[in-house]
Structure formats: C-alpha cells, structure tokens
C-alpha cells in the first residue's frame, strides 16, 4: 500500500487533531485521561505503521504514464475501475452501494 495519505500519515493527522484541538477543550478529568490514553494507543499504531516497508506504486505509475502518452489498450478502463474499487473497499466501502441501484442519470 502506497496511497497518499498513507495510513501512518492519517494516524499522524488524527494525533495532531486530538492533541491540538480536542484535548485543550476537555475539562472533565476522567475524559482527559482517557483521551491521553487513546492518543498514546494511536501513537503506537503510528509508529508500527511507520516501520512497515514503503509500498510500491510502480505499476500504477507506469499505467498512468502509458495513458498520458496515449497508449490505452482495450480493457484499460475496466482494469482501472477494478483498481479504484479495491481502494474504495478500504477508503469508503459504502460508497459503492449506490451503483448497484437502478438510478442516477
């Protein structure tokens, strides 16, 4: 996986949000403590993700460059759509539901 933002970059963004915007507004002592614990847990996730080997997007880069140069073999659209669908299964799985319906035009 190499898609930006990477999972580590997303975890980092959430950590900054919790620390910078949420924590300063939490006055309840118990909630404050639990927020700090959650941030600590998320920073474990962040560090673990950071240690993973970087993903390889060479195949997507090659395909993108090919299309740009005008080389679009038959079946390219179907293949690209499948790849995007795979990314959506992670980023926004429910989004795909609407395409099943007889709708939208």
């Amino acid at each position: 996986m190499s898609e930006r933002p990477t999972a580590a970059e997303l975890a980092e963004a959430i950590l900054e949000f919790l620390g910078g915007e949420i924590l300063p507004t939490v006055t309840d002592q118990r909630l404050r403590f639990r927020t700090l614990v959650a941030m600590n847990a998320l920073s474990i996730v962040y560090r673990e993700l950071e240690r993973l080997p970087a993903g390889d997007d060479a195949e997507q880069r090659e395909l993108a460059a090919q299309i740009r140069s005008g080389e679009v073999p038959p079946g390219t659209l179907a293949r690209v759509k499948r790849d995007v669908e795979g990314r959506l299964r992670i980023a926004s799985p429910r989004y795909l539901e609407q395409y099943g319906e007889a709708s939208s035009r």
Binding site: E3, R4, P5, A13, F17, I67, V84, Y99
Partner: protein, 310 residues
C-alpha cells in the same frame, strides 16, 4: 482580537456594531456575523497565512459580488471592502437568512422551484459583462493538468478522464463570466426558494456549460445520488429553463461532457487539498482524508466513461 475587530468595524460602519461572532467556516476564510443597527451582516476575512493559487483575492471576490449584485443576481448585498481589518484583508456583505448546509437542503423539504431558480440565477451570472470584471482569467484544461502534476500522485482514472476530455471536446462556446463553484452547497435556500448565491472566489471566464453541469457532479448530491441535479431533482427542468433564458441550446451530450470535466476537476481538487495538509501549509484531518476520498470521484469518472462508451 475581537475587540480590535469590532473597533475597526465601528470606524467604517458606525458606532452601533455588535460583537463579532465567528461562524463555522472554511480553512481559507473566516466568517464573522455582526449586526449593525439592526442590519444582519457577515464579515468575510482572510484566514492567517493562507494564500491560494487560482482563487480570487478578497478584493477581486468583492468586485465580482458587486458585479453580480448589479446584474440582479440573488446574492448578498456587498457593503464594504476593507483592505486591513485587524491586520488582514476582509469585506462586509449582507447576511442572508436561510439554509446553507448542502446536506440539510437536500434532506429537508426542497422548494419546488429551486431547480428552475438555479437556472435563472445562472443565466444572469453568465450575462455579467466581462468588462465589469476585467481581472478574471480564462480557464484552460492545461491548468488542471498542471495542478495534478504538481501533486505528483499516479492516478490512472484521472488520466483516463483527461484523455477522454481531450478526445471528446464539444465545439467551443463563447466564454462568459462563470461562478466556478455553482452547486447546492454554495446556495442559501429558504422554504420559499433560492435566497442567494454564495462563495464567488472561484469566478473566472469559461465555457458556460461547464458552470451549468457543475451542480450535477455526484459528490455534491449529498446522499441522494438518484437525483442528478445536486440531490434535489432531475437535470432536465434546470437545463430547459437555462436554454430558454439564454437562447443557448445545451444538448444532453454536451452536459454529459462537462459533468465528466467537473468530476475530473474535483478528483484533482481532492489531491490538491490533500497536498495542503501533507505540505504542512494547512494541517487538517479533513484535508488529509480527502486524498483518500478522491477514490469515490475516480470511481464516478470510470462509471461515466463506461456509460459514454456504451
């Protein structure tokens, strides 16, 4: 800061200025509500350290708003441009009453005339004389590609979209003044209908049909995908009314073309928004996650291209 701002506003608008209240707003602009002698006003002010390419300065946005208002477009009445409001550029305009949250407009009771009113306002916008707003620049497909290349992410679906747009371009129309971000989320809507058109910072000179088709982009149907016009209705009454008023004869194929263009533009927009976060210019989870949600728009591009080929 609030006291300073109030004081500065008093020197321009008179002594009877209420304490400014910060409204929820975008990352690039602040919006403050103030009341001046019973008038409800809104102060749009630059946010700290944010400079965007390809969007208008507040001075130019104010000038566009003046031109739109003079052309009879339903838009907030411009009150004053302020080059330095407590250290930053700002302008003051009328604060319109109504719903501005796209999701609530779509999920609520939609005024029956809203699609037709959207066409009527757009026809007026496209009739604004270019010489009233000489600073507006003409858009080009190449600019979109430059922005995409600057982010440097490989996105085959966007490449397919760009290629299709190059190969299927309809005969060009005379460029006009366009709003540039004309969709449900940038309108003020009340039970009686369309109250005003907001957010003029993307105004430029462009193909009129691009502006017309922008409201059809699926990303802005707010969970009602079967209604092609922004989740509120079919495209046909909207386009028919627009044709009737402008004398243009926008064909369904042309609308389809610019719908694809709107999607490709927004797919690239998701990446440039993500880049604002990754580059450190504007750190924000919202911007970061757009980088991933752009896959939704890429999927829609593939869907539209498949249908065009069928």
């Amino acid at each position: 800061m609030i006291a300073e701002m109030r004081h500065a506003l008093q020197s321009i608008l008179g002594s009877d200025v209420s304490e400014p209240v910060l409204l929820a707003g975008g990352a690039s602009k602040e919006a403050w509500a103030v009341d001046v002698g019973g008038q409800k006003l809104l102060v749009r002010r630059a946010a700290v350290g944010v400079i965007h390419r390809h969007t208008l300065s507040l001075a130019d946005e104010y000038a566009v708003l003046e031109a739109a208002h003079a052309a009879g477009v339903r838009a907030p009445r411009p009150i004053a441009y302020i080059p330095d409001l407590d250290g930053r550029e700002a302008f003051v305009m009328e604060r319109l009453e109504g719903e501005t949250i796209g999701r609530r407009i779509v999920r609520g009771e939609v005024p029956a005339r809203l699609p037709v009113e959207m066409a009527e306002e757009l026809a007026k916008i496209h009739a604004i004389p270019r010489e009233r707003v000489p600073f507006l620049v003409e858009a080009r497909l190449e600019r979109m590609i430059e922005e995409f290349d600057e982010v440097g992410e490989a996105r085959p679906a966007i490449e397919l979209g760009l290629r299709w747009l190059r190969e299927n371009r309809p005969p060009p129309r005379e460029p006009v003044v366009v709003h540039g971000d004309y969709r449900i989320g940038n309108l003020v809507v009340a039970p009686g209908g369309l109250v005003g058109v907001l957010d003029w910072e993307f105004a430029h000179i462009d193909e009129p049909v691009r502006d017309l088709a922008f409201a059809l982009v699926r990303a802005w149907r707010f969970g009602v995908p079967a209604k092609r016009l922004g989740g509120i209705g079919d495209a046909e009454p909207y386009v028919e009314r627009y044709n009737e008023l402008t004398g243009r004869d926008v064909r369904p194929e042309e609308l389809d073309y610019w719908e694809v263009a709107g999607n490709v533009g927004w797919a690239i927009g998701c990446l440039t928004q993500m880049q604002r976060h990754l580059s450190g210019r504007d750190r924000s989870v919202e911007l970061a996650v757009l980088g991933r949600l752009g896959a939704e728009v890429e999927y829609e591009i593939c869907h539209l291209l498949e249908r065009a080929a069928a």
